[in-house]
């Protein structure tokens, strides 16, 4: 990844592990090389929009649940986060 390119953070490793998929299995489903999955997970390669959308479709999640320009918080934290207090 060129140094000037902005890093895209992702939850690919967590989602892949959660679904019990190896890098090879996920790569085969996506039609890419398995090393590429590792590079994406490590943040060394930003996938194209087409690939990102394909990944989102495969996991049946909105794309922003998988990729973000800001560092991502753990999923559990997001699920169990207390809702903001309602104004009186």
């Amino acid at each position: 990844m060129p140094d000037t390119q902005r890093r895209v953070h992702n939850r690919l490793a967590v989602l892949r592990t959660e679904r019990g998929l190896s890098r090879k299995q996920l790569a085969d489903k996506l039609g890419i090389n398995y090393q590429t999955i590792g590079y994406i997970e490590r943040g060394d390669y930003n996938p194209s929009l087409e690939l990102a959308l394909t990944i989102a479709e495969l996991f049946r999640l909105p794309i922003e649940a998988i990729f973000s320009l800001k560092p991502m918080t753990p999923l559990s934290e997001e699920i169990f986060r207390e809702p903001p207090a309602e104004p009186r």
């Binding site: 990844m1 060129p2 490793a13 190896s22 890098r23 039609g31 890419i32 090389n33 090393q35 590429t36 590792g38 590079y39 997970e41 490590r42 060394d44 390669y45 996938p47 194209s48 690939l51």
Partner: protein, 158 residues
């Protein structure tokens, strides 16, 4: 080359790959310069030839490893090049162009300084073959060497 050796080359860390690329690029000019310098000494001709061949061999080994590291992706013989491979190949070609430009400008400048300093350059087989050999060997290998240079370490298997 056996599958194990190919696999070992595939997983070479970037620091080692970069060392190999530097040796591969610098080795040949060093060997030619050493040959030119030793020619004017009283050393035995066969000893000079042996030293030159040894330097060439030390250059060819890293050149071959670096070339093999990326060859399948540069020439497109690898069965499936995905978008990362294609992007990396594009970067390698762009870097090759930049490196080649620097080398050609440097060579032209050195030649110009040499000629304007009152020296003559006789173009014959002895002066032409080192340049010709460089073009024949390095020009096809340069994109592979650059790919070996830029690619980050492979992620551990999971």
């Amino acid at each position: 080359m056996s599958t194990t050796t190919t696999s070992k080359i595939e997983y070479l860390p970037r620091s080692r790959r970069r060392t190999l690329v530097i040796i591969a690029l610098a080795g040949y000019p060093v060997a030619v310069a050493a040959l030119a310098a030793l020619k004017h000494t009283s050393l035995n001709r066969w000893l000079i030839l042996a030293l030159f061949l040894l330097l060439l061999l030390l250059t060819l080994a890293p050149l071959t490893v670096s070339y093999r590291y990326a060859r399948g992706r540069i020439d497109g013989r690898r069965t499936r090049l995905d978008e990362r491979d294609l992007a990396l190949r594009q970067q390698a070609y762009a870097l090759s162009h930049r490196v080649l430009t620097v080398i050609l400008i440097a060579a032209t400048a050195i030649t110009e300084i040499y000629l304007t300093s009152g020296n003559n350059l006789r173009l014959d087989a002895n002066t032409f073959w080192p340049a010709a050999m460089w073009v024949i060997v390095y020009l096809p290998a340069l994109p592979s060497l650059m790919l070996a240079w830029i690619e980050t370490d492979q992620p551990a298997d999971a």
